[in-house]
Amino acid sequence: MPVLPKKKVGLISCSGEELPEGMLSRVATLQALERLRPNETVTLCLPLFLAGNDKERAFAKFYPTIAIDGCDKRCAARATEKYSAPPTASIVIPEFLAARGLDAPKTRRQMDAAGERAADALAQEIAQRVDEILGVKREPVAEPQTAAESEAVTATCSCGSGIPVTRLVIAGKEREIVALPLIFEQFRNDGKTPAELFDAVKIYNAIPAELEAAYREAILCAYAAHTLEKREG
């Protein structure tokens, strides 16, 4: 039975190769992915928005995202918005460092003590934003995770495991709906009602209120066609 990917928060790091803050963005993002919120976060290599396919461009439509940028050019936030969907939250590292009185590492390649401090604080900030987006309340953790725990998880990007995108004509215009075949299959197997089906689609897709009726009709038609196809096939 198909399983809908769990709702997680997508972390998009600018990974800027040219600046120390770009490295900071990458290191802190990896800390959040691997150590602080391994079960609640996913990532995607940013250039895949351009080099990848529809499924990769659906990333920020499916996952709420946090863009982490090394400078005010804000490549991660802008690319996410341009190719996929506006990020839910955005962190610009020089602003973050100034607000916290922290320093960037001296070089763009190697971490130093100041960089480690900044990366730790930034990773904590990312983790806190993840909790806010997911509506999770946590007690402050006194002890960092142990080495054994942290070694257990390695960040992997979500390329190739993309979210299916379906195009439907709704209110006279072709529109993209993410995860539709997965939702259909799950509902067919569970024998749920059409009303529940539309609610599930709304969890994974931003549907404008004024077009809700048109979306519902198009999606239920697509579901009927899908069910028929499965029955006959």
């Binding site: 790091s13 600018c14 990974s15 800027g16 190769e17 040219e18 600046l19 770009g22 990458r26 290191v27 993002t29 990896l30 800390q31 992915l33 691997e34 990532t43 995607l44 290599c45 940013l46 250039p47 895949l48 928005f49 351009l50 080099a51 990848g52 090394g70 050019k73 490549c75 991660a76 802008r78 690319a79 341009k82 763009r108 390649r109 390695t154 960040a155 992997t156 990007c157 979500s158 390329c159």
Partner: protein, 134 residues
């Protein structure tokens, strides 16, 4: 990227979730900062992805070497998408194919073998830089 006029641009992919992306980035730093600092430069690949005018001009006007961490080939595709033509395309996997004993530890920590892989790749890139700089 100061004084980038006569430099070879080394453009690694921005792989964050793949260990070979990290190997490519480390190889780039070895070339740009240690092996051929006066003959090479780099820029943020994300800038290219966004169509930044300076980054585009750089890869269109200078000989460019791309390094990619997986078959998606983001560095190559991004350079070509803005009208650049990579002089050479390196794939980290090819280094692994030639040295299967080298197993990279993880994205965030390459380990001894990963650093060796980056060094081998950096040597190949530096040789290519020499050719392109003649």
């Amino acid at each position: 990227m100061t004084d980038s006029k006569k430099r070879v641009v080394i453009m690694p992919c921005s792989g964050i979730g793949k260990a070979y992306g990290s190997v490519g980035r480390e190889a780039m730093y070895q070339v740009v900062e240690e092996m051929r600092p006066d003959a090479t430069t780099t820029t943020c690949l994300s800038l290219l992805t966004l169509g930044d005018a300076d980054a585009q001009a750089l890869v269109r006007e200078q000989p460019t070497i791309t390094i990619d961490g997986c078959p998606s080939a983001c560095a190559k595709v991004s350079v070509e998408a803005v009208g650049g033509k990579p002089a050479t395309e390196f794939r980290v996997f090819d280094v692994y194919r030639a040295h299967r004993e080298l197993k990279v530890r993880s994205v965030s920590e390459l380990g001894e073998a990963g650093r060796e892989m980056a060094r081998l790749l950096a040597e190949e890139i530096a040789a290519k830089v020499d050719e392109l700089s003649k």
